[in-house]
Subunit: 464 residues, 2 copies
Amino acid sequence: MLDPVLNRINNHLDDAIERWSDFLRIPSISTDPAYADSMRQATEWLRGQLEPLGFQVDVRETEGHPVVIAHHPGPGGDATHVLYYGHYDVQPPDPLELWHNDPFDPTLVDGPHGKRMVARGAVDDKGQLMMWMEALRAWHAEHGGLPIRATILIEGEEEVGSRNLLPVLERYRDELAADVCVVSDTAMWDIDTPAVTYTLRGLLYTELTCRGPSHDLHSGFYGGAVTNPINALTRILGALHDEQGRVRIPGFYDDVIEPSQEELAQWQTLNMDEAGFLGSAGVSVSGGGEQDRTLLERLWSRPSCDINGILGGFTGPGAKTVIPREASAKISFRLVPDQDPDQLIAAFRDFIEEQAPAGCTTELEVHSAAPAIRIPTTSPYLQAALNAMGTVYEREPVLLGCGGSIPIAAWARDILGIDTLLMGFSLEDDGMHSPNEKFEVTCFHRGTLSHVALLDELRKRTDY
Amino acid sequence: MLDPVLNRINNHLDDAIERWSDFLRIPSISTDPAYADSMRQATEWLRGQLEPLGFQVDVRETEGHPVVIAHHPGPGGDATHVLYYGHYDVQPPDPLELWHNDPFDPTLVDGPHGKRMVARGAVDDKGQLMMWMEALRAWHAEHGGLPIRATILIEGEEEVGSRNLLPVLERYRDELAADVCVVSDTAMWDIDTPAVTYTLRGLLYTELTCRGPSHDLHSGFYGGAVTNPINALTRILGALHDEQGRVRIPGFYDDVIEPSQEELAQWQTLNMDEAGFLGSAGVSVSGGGEQDRTLLERLWSRPSCDINGILGGFTGPGAKTVIPREASAKISFRLVPDQDPDQLIAAFRDFIEEQAPAGCTTELEVHSAAPAIRIPTTSPYLQAALNAMGTVYEREPVLLGCGGSIPIAAWARDILGIDTLLMGFSLEDDGMHSPNEKFEVTCFHRGTLSHVALLDELRKRTDY
């Protein structure tokens, strides 16, 4: 059943690009109230795409921009139930003067890999979500139905922090139930190497406040006698890492799962361009984190600790000889499987108490605490995605980690109890959020083919 | 020659209080431009007090409020030449509603030590400078001249940072040359124990900036790989003290002079109320500084290191997962004899370089660097002051240290090359800068007697 659909994609690529361009012409900028009508127009455009495929489409209101929720019953029986997630909103295009074309007049431009689409949203996320929509469309056109049961959730606030996504997932929890969530909003390893992102670090975000005297003091009259809260805070924070860059909180690494030999071997074959990665940060040495681990290990499989902000005392120009009454810092930990945020909070509290000098009190506030996400490499859905991409690409698909967090992946797990397949096709140089954002047509094309192949893989799972 | 002058003071105390009250009625608030006329009025009032004593008085303009400079030739010959310093400006009286009387309507109130004068400036510094003016007046009235050569410098900007004092000292350096500077702007040990403040800590004030990536980074994508400037900064600052509260910069204590056994024994006899001192800061333990030293040692004879301000990354409410490009802190050191600020700057730079992790650069800016001040206990002027107070008080006068710096003392040394006798009569509870500022009449009275006795001591120095 696969080949006719793949052929249809190949033979009608120009039509798909035309639809993609239509979508890109809608300036659905979520952060700017002036574009509220365009946001509404985007949801109606999506309805117009999905209803002809047999989806029942609802545009549901939230406290912000509406979400599109659509259902397709599929073939019935025990067909796999997929929840597709995407977002129809885009970043503002500023600074406009750096664009070579109107950001909402999508333009095909020649590049080293053939044609590329240049427009705001070309890749993030309109281009990426169009791939699975085009896959569903082609399958429907060829076979008059879908091989899976499908639910679609497309939000309009990803670029402004997905602030209504969690309430939507909670309110429509039953309706959004599925076997697996599929998302295209991540990157390939390189233009010829497709990838599934299978592990995401968790995040524990805290704020530590040290308090000393009841009011600001003159450092001449009290310096050397009274505990200075900034001295105390930096003493605690300065003790967080040892010489090798390891976090010194007792038990911090106890539950950390080491990557398997297979995973390490695969990462090795990726031949990461470390100099290029560091160069993107404007540095030449990887001074952060554990010095005895490779960069990819540190980013994907090792926890880290960063102080994200610190404030205390006099911070204006010049000098003021003050011992302030308090000082505080925001300290976050990136977590990996199987670290338990609650255990780490307790261990961090003990560590603070141990390190804090006499004469100051400490308070630890927890802003958020989410464990890491890891899709087991033995997951049948993960295997289905790898098989699908293996059908389309000559190179073997690879499994990538990601140092950051992706809200839908965490919330799909926490609220819906399902794994998320992060099967994305963007490239590092696509310029998401930047002027002249682009998406390579070959990525769009082969990404669409991969989503078709994924449909076929999932179909076969129930055919077995 | 002394007794008739002391008797005159005792017999005409009410007249002195009347003049003191006149001075206090002038609302010479330096920080508020609305009181410019009152500032001018205060200088003319001082001229009216000094000219009848044979002083040649000049009111000299500065870029801010004028200074009063006055000269009296004294008896001629090799008479001791004293530079008296004071300030005629006062703090604003706010919050007005907390005063029990109009702050510029000086009121005598009964207290546990007899009458006290309540008014803004009662002690700081109008009451204190009136003591030496009254001493000069009484001597002149009794003997028709002064036993010393006298130069007077009274500024109007002490409460706003003495910003034009240094230019005045530099411009009139030759004219202000003297043997010793006498100031009444410090405190007694207690109401019955007079004191000279003979040692002041110096101040080295620096600002350290750590820089890492070329732009702010996402801590998910770079955390654990790239050096975080806040992590680096807190690592350096956290290493500044050891477990015992000693500064860990190599060589930091090399040139520190230990107080003599006599000094330590005298401090011991002071029976410092440590709980009261700590209570004034709102703390119950002395967690700062060297734990094996007494509080007085730490404040008067030991150097200290305080971080006065720190800033980096995201400091708003909530959470932001940023690795900032830079972070900075203001770090000051209180210095004691014979620490050399320049040597310490070099040692601190080495320490920073040693502690800074790879992947970050550091920059140290020096805002100011002034060594400690110490009047040798063998100084004949210091002895004269102690003898003078010994004449008036039953208790032995004591030598105090001061953890802070006093601009006139440093600049008199640096610009004029002379020591400053800090002979003050305020009490800890006088409420300088606060509502209901007061000065005990007994302090004013015995302070005036002490200044008469000092004149006699200095007279005898040239009579020998």
